[in-house]
């Protein structure tokens, strides 16, 4: 082993599907507990221990669930885009798995961002919907998520499908900076970012619940993503076993199978 390939080997070892299944199981319950605690504290602050806004009044409380969902809609897609690079450049099967497992979660968080934003818009702006840059580009993001989920379902060979879907995912990533900077590029109903170079443009009593709720939603995503990734590995493993069983049965071979040449097992290093 040379010093140059040490990080790669370390990463490959962790990302090998078999090893991933072993180490990831120890993270699920701690993540579930942390998520539950964060939500309990966040909701207490958001509903009972934060003041109304001087302009928006009590409806500012919608912000504590709208902003985390809006943040996650973009973060999840960014994770998918990074996974798509991993899938295209290194052809790593776990990158495909991460990409696929994140898509329905991203779609759900984007739907919740649109739903809560619409309900917040009615009392704040007098309308449920306005075709401004931020809202339109977020709707486009939601449609991209749905398109990618539909694409995954069209491929019976997930490894081949992953290459094509990775390309589409990277093309769709153009929308992320558009969402981010839409409030600066176009005049619309949305306010500019609250995080500025000279500090926060929001009082601490409003920012604290927002931060805790954002942490809670982010932890929830990581929990669900980890479980979804493990489920996808198991699904591919079961599919592979069933496929091999059919081949072995039709050829009159034994049912005790050598299932090593699958899309998950043949690229991760050692045979698990």
């Amino acid at each position: 082993m040379t010093p140059d390939n040490k990080p790669k080997n370390w990463f490959s070892a962790l990302a090998h599907p078999g090893k991933f299944m072993r180490w990831s199981r120890y993270f699920i319950w701690p993540l579930i507990i942390l998520t539950a605690i964060s939500f309990a504290i966040g909701l207490w602050f958001a509903l009972f221990n934060s003041p109304p806004d001087y302009q928006m009044g009590e409806t500012v409380r919608i912000m504590y669930i709208h902003v985390p969902n809006a943040w996650l809609s973009q973060m999840v897609y960014s994770i998918m885009a990074i996974s798509a690079i991993g899938s295209l450049v290194w052809r790593h099967p776990l990158a495909d798995v991460a990409m696929k497992a994140a898509a329905p979660l991203g779609a759900a968080f984007t739907a919740m961002a649109l739903f809560t934003g619409s309900l917040w818009g009615r009392p704040a702006w007098g309308t449920y919907w306005e075709w401004d840059g931020r809202m339109t580009s977020t709707l486009v993001l939601f449609l991209i998520y749905l398109g990618l989920i539909a694409l995954w379902n069209t491929f019976s060979d997930q490894s081949k499908g992953a290459r094509i879907i990775a390309v589409f995912t990277l093309v769709g990533a153009i929308n992320i900076p558009i969402i981010k900077f839409s409030v600066d590029w176009w005049n619309g109903l949305h306010q500019p970012s609250i995080i500025k170079a000279d500090g926060l443009s929001m009082p601490a009593e409003l920012y604290t619940p927002l931060l805790i709720m954002t942490l809670a939603f982010t932890l929830l995503f990581f929990t669900l993503h980890l479980i979804n990734m493990r489920t996808e590995v198991l699904r591919r493993r079961a599919n592979s076993l069933e496929r091999q069983h059919v081949i072995a049965s039709s050829g009159g071979a034994s049912t005790s199978l050598d299932v090593t040449n699958t899309d998950l097992d043949n690229k991760g290093g050692d045979n698990d």
Partner: protein
């Protein structure tokens, strides 16, 4: 504490809507996970397993 005002219905609708979607999402993830685990257990029962299982019979149990 929330004071009653005209916007209260939008706050309740937002929180209930998000709680509903999150419940569905968590339920779907949990059901999907259990379904795949059951599939693999069923394959095991039928004697269809991976090569590595021969060397370590507890491996499926460890990775589920």
């Amino acid at each position: 504490m929330i004071e009653f005002e005209a916007g209260i219905i939008f706050i309740i609708a937002s929180y209930v809507g998000v709680a509903l979607v999150l419940s569905l999402l968590i339920g779907w993830v949990w059901l999907n996970s259990n379904k795949q685990k059951a599939r693999l257990v069923d394959l095991e029962k039928r004697g269809i397993h991976r090569r590595s299982k021969k060397n370590n019979p507890d491996k499926t149990e460890q990775t589920l």
